[in-house]
């Protein structure tokens, strides 16, 4: 029972750890690490589903007849490359935020935003 579902359950645990980092940590770079953990857990889930008991890697050789399913591999190959592209974009936005605010801490950024908002209110009145 446990061995039957172990891969799925660990994938879910990893996904929740990534999710937890994203929503509980205030540091934006730590959030990006959380997102990569979340992504990787989805990869593990897909690749686990593609495994066939007693099968081998999907590269055709004469002596072998049983292969693991190649389709999830193709999907995940694409997802990894797209994932690194989104990570790069996210980090670029974080670098931009850092130049503007001097911090990557979400709470401090919010505090600074509110300060600025109140200042502009005073200017108007």
């Amino acid at each position: 029972m446990i061995a039957d579902f172990y891969n799925y359950w660990v994938a879910i645990i990893l996904m929740m750890i990534g999710f937890y980092i994203v929503i509980s940590d205030a540091n934006l770079i730590k959030k990006m690490i959380g997102i990569t953990i979340f992504q990787t857990s989805v990869f593990i889930l897909f690749i686990s589903m593609s495994k066939v008991e007693g099968g081998t890697a999907p590269i055709l050789i004469d002596e072998v007849t049983l292969y693991s399913n190649p389709l999830p591999h193709v999907l995940i190959l694409t997802a990894i490359v797209v994932g690194v592209a989104t990570t790069a974009l996210g980090l670029a936005i974080i670098a931009r935020i850092y130049r503007e605010y001097g911090t990557v801490d979400e709470n401090i950024i919010h505090a600074k935003d509110e300060e600025e908002y109140e200042d502009s209110d005073e200017d108007l009145s």
């Binding site: 509980s24 990006m32 593609s50 399913n69 389709l71 591999h73």
Partner: protein
């Protein structure tokens, strides 16, 4: 229990432990390096699950490129993580409920490695049987990626290109602004 199951279970356990340590780390540099180790462990797991193409992509792109990008970001922003966090009760509650729902969802999934799972009985057998003849290369993943699903790969390249333009615009604008003196205030 055969050797493959043991390797599989120990790698997955190591991954869970690494992620838990990552959760508690406050030093950003250590967290980035640990996430590189995490990616490398994932690549090892993919080899044991027969996904060799995915494994070397993960090792090169996940463990290599992502770690370099994160290190660059840490170099720009400084390595001390400020210790402020949001309150913990709500995130713990949300993740626990979600995890419970997802684990309940796995219970009627096909067993791990089951050759009769629906995923293995449709579409994939055709690629396994015919791709050697039709495309003429032994690696089925490459056949599907570059030939049968070539347009998907074109779309992927478009996404990467768009992301690259976005990164260049975001960071290039900063360099230009920095050389100008600040006007307001």
């Amino acid at each position: 229990m055969d050797i493959q199951t043991i390797v599989d279970i120990s790698l997955l356990t190591l991954l869970a432990v690494t992620a838990l340590i990552l959760l508690r780390l406050n030093n950003l540099l250590a967290a980035v390096l640990l996430s590189g180790i995490y990616s490398l462990l994932t690549a090892g797991l993919f080899v044991s699950l027969d996904a060799v193409d995915v494994a070397f992509t993960e090792a090169a792109v996940g463990a290599g490129l992502t770690t370099v990008l994160l290190l660059g970001a840490v170099a720009i922003t400084g390595r001390e993580q400020s210790v402020t966090r949001h309150s913990r009760i709500l995130p713990i509650a949300v993740t626990t409920v979600t995890a419970a729902a997802l684990i309940y969802g796995t219970l009627d999934m096909p067993k791990f490695g089951d050759p009769m799972a629906p995923i293995h009985t449709h579409v994939a057998p055709r690629y396994i049987e015919m791709s050697g003849e039709e495309i003429g290369i032994p690696n089925i993943v490459t056949s599907v990626l570059a030939s049968y699903r070539g347009y998907d790969t074109l779309g992927e390249v478009t996404v990467v290109f768009t992301a690259a333009i976005g990164v260049m615009l975001l960071l290039g604008g900063v360099i230009k602004r920095k050389s100008k003196p600040k006007k307001h205030e």
